[in-house]
């Protein structure tokens, strides 16, 4: 199952404003290298200077990084990114483009599809090439209750992968990537909307929610006191998440919301405290490796999917668990 795609595999290199790679990109690069023995993986970097990331990209064995200079256009606007990436697909003859499955990249992929005729799979949890080099992606649907596998039949495939689909690993050979410069003329259509303001969220000091290996989540049952949830997350080196009720109440920022209209997580360990397990919430966490739930209501739907369910008061159970974990670890 490893026919190679014609042309390079392009990986969209999501990065912060100061040129640092988003961690999930390393997973994509790892996956791309393993797609076929002779797969040629190249990076696509839109806006700014890729300089600060070249070291990390070299550890991923990347030989070249295409720097797409969009001039005065705003590189955060997804129509601009889509147009730049479309130009690169044409220039390189790439048949496969990979990106992290984020709100923004879904917009990029949609526009790339309209412009180039590419077929797109979003929220993929795995990817292989079939004997003909076509992309075959795994995806769960219906709030994580069904596994599907689909093949892209169009000549160009765009696949967006969820964080934690694979474990990032360095390449066996470290490279020093060459930066290939492209100046892309951005058309009027991509400039019909303007970015008035963009505020990047400051890091919380905790792992990024979408990519974390451990996620501890508080719901209405916390009654606004996220203390025990945060303490457990910090002890486990995890991220803190929330239900929509908790974010709507203003107990925690909206970007902590997990679920169908929030962040999708697939950590090794999910711990929900005072979370009922509504279908909207489950859609964002059901593919977690192990699910633990603490809820005072034995009928809570989250117990239907919990590997370990504890009927109890989170304000009793969580502090005791923290104390015991500290003791066990010495």
């Amino acid at each position: 199952m490893s026919g190679s795609p014609a042309g390079p595999v392009l990986v969209l290199l999501d990065h912060t404003a100061d040129g640092m790679l988003r961690p999930a990109v390393l997973e994509l690069l790892t996956l791309a290298r393993g797609l076929a023995p002779d797969a040629v993986v190249e990076g696509a970097w839109v806006g700014g200077d890729p300089g600060p990331a070249l070291g990390e990209l070299g550890e991923q064995g990347l030989v070249s990084v295409h720097h797409l200079d969009v001039g005065v256009a705003e590189p955060h606007l997804t129509p601009v990114v889509a147009q730049a990436l479309g130009a690169l697909v044409t220039a390189t003859g790439a048949r496969l483009v990979l990106g992290v499955s984020s709100f923004e990249n879904k917009e990029v992929a949609a526009r790339l599809g309209v412009a180039t005729g590419a077929g797109v799979v979003t929220d993929a949890s795995g990817l292989e090439l079939d004997d003909d080099g076509a992309a075959v992606a795994d995806k769960t649907v219906f709030a994580g209750t069904w596994n599907t596998r689909c093949v892209v039949t169009a000549p160009v495939a765009v696949v967006l992968l969820k964080a934690n689909a694979v474990q990032a690993e360095p390449a066996s050979l470290v490279t020093s990537p060459a930066v290939v410069e492209h100046v892309v003329e951005i058309g009027e259509l991509a400039l019909r909307q303007t970015l008035v303001e963009r505020t990047e969220r400051a890091g919380s000091g905790r792992p990024e929610l979408g990519a974390a290996q451990v996620v501890v989540v508080g719901g209405r049952g916390t009654n606004g006191d996220f203390g025990p949830v945060e303490a457990l997350a910090d002890l486990l080196g995890g991220a803190v998440g929330a239900t929509r009720v908790a974010t709507d109440e203003g107990w925690i920022a909206h970007d902590a919301q997990i679920g169908q209209t929030g962040v999708t997580v697939a950590p090794r360990l999910y711990i929900g405290a005072g979370v009922s397990g509504a279908v909207h919430h489950r859609g964002g966490m059901q593919s977690a490796g192990t699910i633990v739930a603490v809820n005072s209501d034995p009928e809570a739907p989250i117990f239907e999917i919990a590997d370990l369910g504890i009927v109890g008061d989170l304000f009793v159970v969580l502090p005791q668990a923290i104390e015991e974990l500290r003791r066990l670890r010495g």
């Binding site: 955060h76 606007l77 997804t78 889509a82 984020s102 879904k106 917009e107 992929a109 949609a110 526009r111 599809g113 412009a115 077929g119 797109v120 979003t122 929220d123 075959v136 649907v141 219906f142 709030a143 209750t145 069904w146 596998r149 689909c150 093949v151 039949t153 169009a154 259509l189 019909r192 909307q193 303007t194 970015l195 008035v196 963009r198 505020t199 969220r201 979408g210 486990l236 909206h254 169908q260 209209t261 962040v263 090794r268 360990l269 909207h280 034995p298 919990a306 590997d307 370990l308 369910g309 504890i310 109890g312 009793v316 159970v317 502090p319 005791q320 923290i322 015991e324 974990l325 066990l328």
Partner: protein, 266 residues
């Protein structure tokens, strides 16, 4: 202001949802409903029309029972409804759907220009969230997606729409002159329930039906034959095995700690 709201009829999120042998979502009626997030889209359009004047047209493409989705829109207060109904639509991917909706909006425009197209942020039937951006690209209009707040200002040089949106790593404010497409999140508003008056009024409103021929779209360009992806397999996820449910007897916190250590989760 003329506003078109694109809506979708989907299997009820609370129901048992399945995928058939043909790789398509089973839509055999009964459990179908208006996609929840499209209620936010209709609400946003109604509020804008109430504030700035204008009319709201609800539009859907889908099988016969999808008409329920636009009827619900009429009950909420929309003025007109359009249903693209054609057997050849079955199995369309997001790009086929976007092309069909764009062509239908083109026909609606024959009665006067459309200023805004509004959609929900995603259809909750496990698809892709890509429709809003794909439709904006098809229509060649500005894209103001994932709006949690919408502001419309009418000026002498035209109408400006500004939205606030929350992304994975940032909050943004986007702005554009109409015509524009806006997609809304569940944070944008609290959708109204149709009241008795609305339900009665909706009975008198007609639903216009278009076929692909009306839209000038070749059947082979959409549906399964036009789809750029094909489902190879679909299986219900097996239930998790060896699940344990305990009731706290004063020791559950310690049990939890031991469970995490024993299962090498810490």
């Amino acid at each position: 202001m003329k506003i078109v709201v694109c809506v979708k009829h989907v299997p009820d999120i609370q129901s048992e949802r399945t995928i058939g042998d043909d790789g398509r979502v089973v839509r055999d009626g009964g459990d179908g409903t208006l996609n929840e997030l499209d209620e936010n889209a209709i609400e946003a359009a109604l509020v804008l029309a109430e504030t700035h004047g204008g009319e709201v047209v609800v539009l859907t493409a889908g099988p016969a029972d999808a008409v329920d989705a636009v009827r619900r829109g009429l009950q909420m207060g929309a003025d007109e409804a359009v249903h693209v109904l054609d057997d050849a639509l079955a199995g369309s991917d997001v790009f086929g759907t976007a092309a069909v909706l764009a062509a239908a909006i083109g026909l609606v425009e024959e009665e006067g220009p459309v200023d805004l197209v509004v959609t929900g942020m995603a259809a909750l039937d496990g698809l892709t969230s890509m429709l809003p951006a794909a439709l904006a690209a098809e229509l060649g209009i500005a894209q103001l997606t994932l709006a949690s707040a919408i502001d419309v200002v009418e000026g002498s040089d035209g109408t400006r729409v500004t939205v606030r949106r929350e992304l994975d790593h940032a909050t943004e404010v986007l702005s554009a002159m109409t015509p524009a497409l806006v997609s809304v999140t569940d944070q944008a508003n609290e959708p109204r329930y149709p009241n008795f008056k609305g339900i009665m009024a909706a009975r008198k409103k007609a639903v216009t039906t278009f076929t692909l021929a009306d839209l000038g779209i070749e059947p082979a360009a959409v549906g399964s034959s036009g789809s750029r992806t094909r489902v190879l397999s679909a299986t219900a996820r097996p239930a998790r095995e060896n699940r344990v449910l305990i009731t706290d007897d004063g020791e559950a916190g310690r049990t939890l700690a031991t469970y995490l250590v024993d299962n090498k989760l810490v």
